[in-house]
Amino acid sequence: MSHNHCASILSLGLKIALAAMTSLVIPLSSGAYANPHEFKLANGLRLIVKEDHRSPVVISQIWYKAGSIDELNGATGIAHALEHMMFKGTERVPGGAFSKRIAAAGGRENAFTGRDYTAYFQQLHKSQLPLAMELESDRMRNLILTKEEFSKEIQVVMEERRLRTDDKPHALVHEKMMAAAYQAHPYQRPIIGWMNDLENMRVRDAKEWYDRWYAPNNAILVVVGDVKPREVFALAQKYYGGITPRPLLPLALRKPQTEPVQVGIKRLTVKAPAKLPYLTMGYHAPTLRNASADWEPYALEMLVGVLDGNASARLNKELVRERRIANSAGAGYDSTARGPGMFYLYGTPSEGKTTSDLETALRGEMEKLMLDGVTEEELARVKAQVVASHVFRLDSMFYQAMQIGQLESVGLSYRDLEIIVKKLQSVTAEQVREVAKKYVKDDSLTVAVLDPQPLEQKLPFAGSGGLRH
């Protein structure tokens, strides 16, 4: 168990995950997934409760609308570092007592930091929901941040960076590609932060961040499980109701930091110890702003589905199975975000093929699609998967809560789930072709390539230089 920062899961790995955020498009047989219930406390805290009575358990998640997007240069990684510090105790629940009490209640807990949010959760028997609320509300306001604890925990965060990025060639390529693709927008910075920023981070940075963003009027509490909405509301009133709001900027008033238009292709190479090369291509793309009025993000989701939504989708069929140019190939698109989106193509060439061969092949697939469009059969297949994967998600309380929290924390609404599925179902083949033609173009492309290095030689790669203090 660990503190995650899972933005990469929510972006590159998304594929048709958004498509799975749907609602009642097919007749469902019981009341287990009644629409969520929404409440608002006087201090601004929003509560969304979704009933699922299949098991006597509950998940409680609190989402703060503060992520790496809100960080400033020199203090990258502070949102995530504070997430780690949130487990270090308050006056009433000191040291590791938070985790001990959740564990003793049979609970599981963790937290994750994304580009747009930071979230904390507990999963427990439904009888333990009051405990989760008591502890979570306490640390919304009463966290004790000490120099001693911070100096140890920041070492843990640096180990996390080494583990997840510095020593993981594909993650390193992704990090450097984002840094190149965005010139101005904060999505250029890694969620975990640059190593040098971590080395120079101090407890006062954490304190400032905490005081600025951790407030009921910047949070959404999502509860899914075998609960009664009214009772959850009463609990939320009891535990969170007394916390005073802070003056802080709502999402709509935070600076947009709009990325200047890219005016030509960018290319970069990353050297790291590996055997296989790797290629990733990122094209700037829009994200969902208005679930009812927008159409392009839905068409881009369908585009990803046609390319990589199932084992018979184009990239796997053409490049891996038939032409055998790639050992693996995929597409991705992050459609829901506070900031701008990106459409990705990526893959590993087969032995004997180069990243350049793979790039040519990927471009070929896109050109073919722009010329001939997609078939109704392909589109229907992706739509069938949209419907099924929505239903499948209902099997997990965790993901039901995730869907609600993610939409809410990027400025959309849980109510948009219903609209999103309808809109995905209504995408036409021509719209898929249109977004491909509009967004898949060289002027807004960044290409990053992993240049594999043998293990034997000394390498000038991340880590060795950055580790000494």
Partner: protein, 436 residues
């Protein structure tokens, strides 16, 4: 302490009520001799099925290493007159998801589909072909062999993979559990289509298979489904035997790697599925390094010293002794210090055992958290597959909770002392500090 002890008893009763009320497992045998484990659940329009065979990587030999994995991989890449593309399309057209499960003991195929008639029938038709009439096309074998080999070459540059692969060999020596599940390049290069067919014919047997069904179908429908999925499986009966696992030769191996962190793993043969020490070791492991943020290892390595992001201990029960492992990653310069502290924590735990307070906390978590292991169809079908494959009693889940409740500190201490020998462990450090 009296109060918390009472709490354990209370939690136990909450749980028992829940499990007995909600997990009524039905069990029968198909005409072909396959055992079927079924739980009917009408809450969601979903059907989950898992079919498990005695065909894991321990069926490989050094000469055929990689055969079992490749056989499982190829099942869905051409079967029953359908090409791999037709199989993929048929499943995608109804939104069904085909999955696999593979370890030393088991090779399993699972499917998740909507339970509505058209979707279900189409998905199950494909599943039936995949497990009963795989074709192992030559050209697909060539391609997949190449992909696996390419993947292995890349994996052999990754410190985590080098560590776990090296450790497995050190831990199990010539026992089949020591073979790499994806195989070795040399053995993969020699595998023929016939080898895969042989394994399929001898190991994907109706009489040894287990079908687990969870979800939105009736008992009658489930019976028909199980019949259709097993009618044409290979016939024959097999008494699966595996050699006993011997104690390893104690050794610490340090391997250089340019990564910034060292990957450290310590291991010793651990638990069998039918192990008499199962429950004391599970409870003890929670306290030592299994219990998330509250374990001793987490406390000493991460919370107190900031040496690692992740540190854990785990048992992976198998038919024979699966590995007991302790693992962590830390920057190179502090790898020896971290290894020393880890060994100290383990040695002290084995010498003195857990405290009464730790024992109670562990039971509270394992028992109180048990409903979380059964809170989705997916988790339940996985439990059914495990119970069925290892032939555990239908009351296993209830027994589990009761058995945990009875474990004492002395049992934990004695079980660890009997089973885990710190001085006999195998240890690997990948990304060791180079000697200048």
């Amino acid at each position: 302490m009296q109060f918390t002890r009472l709490l354990v008893v209370l939690l136990l009763s909450i749980y028992s009520q829940f499990a007995l009320a909600t997990l009524p497992i039905q069990l029968w045998q198909t005409t072909a001799g396959t055992w079927v484990y079924f739980v009917e659940s009408r809450g969601l329009p979903i059907l989950d099925i898992s079919v498990d065979f005695d065909a894991g990587s321990s069926t490989d030999t050094p000469e055929t290493s990689g055969r079992a994995n490749l056989t499982l991989q190829l099942l869905s890449l051409g079967a029953g007159g359908l090409s791999e593309d037709q199989i993929a399309k048929s499943l995608a057209d109804v939104g069904a998801e085909l999955g696999g499960r593979f370890d030393q003991d088991r090779a399993g195929v699972s499917i998740r589909t909507l339970s509505s008639t058209r979707e279900r029938n189409q998905a199950l038709d494909v599943l039936g072909r995949v497990i009963q009439r795989p074709e192992f096309p030559e050209d697909v074998l060539e391609r997949e062999r190449t992909r696996v080999i390419t993947g292995l070459k890349d994996a052999d540059t990754k410190p985590d993979h080098i560590a776990s692969h090296t450790l497995k060999k050190m831990l199990y020596g010539s026992h089949p559990y020591g073979l790499r599940s994806s195989g070795e390049i040399a053995s993969l290069e020699l595998l023929q289509r016939k080898d895969l067919l042989d394994l399929y014919q001898s190991r994907y047997l109706a009489a040894n298979a287990v079908i687990s069904i969870m979800g939105d179908v009736s008992r009658v429908e489930a019976a028909a489904i199980a019949e259709a999925l097993t009618r044409d499986l290979p016939q024959g009966k097999l008494n699966v035997t595996l050699p006993a696992v011997a104690a390893p030769v104690a050794e610490t191996r340090r391997i250089t790697h340019p990564a910034s962190q060292s990957h450290i793993i310590l291991a010793y043969p651990g638990l069998r599925r039918d192990d008499p020490d199962f429950f004391p070791l599970v409870v003890g492991n929670y306290i030592l390094g299994g219990g998330g943020f509250v374990s001793r290892l987490m406390q000493e390595i991460r919370q107190n010293r900031g040496l690692a992001y992740s540190v854990y201990s785990s048992f992976s029960p198998l038919r024979q002794e699966g590995p007991f492992e302790i693992g962590l990653q830390t920057k190179k310069e502090q790898s020896e210090e971290s290894l020393r502290i880890t060994q100290q924590v383990l040695t002290k735990f084995i010498e003195s055992g857990p405290t009464q307070k730790e024992l109670i906390a562990a039971k509270q978590n394992i028992i109180g958290g048990f409903p979380l292991r059964l809170d989705s169809n997916k988790k339940i079908v996985d439990q059914l597959a495990m119970i069925g494959f290892y032939n555990l009693p239908l009351t296993y889940l209830d027994d589990y909770v009761k058995a945990i409740g009875k474990v004492t500190t002395l049992q934990v201490k004695k079980a660890f002392q009997r089973r885990i020998k710190p001085e006999g462990m195998v240890t690997v450090v990948v990304g060791a500090v180079e000697n200048k």
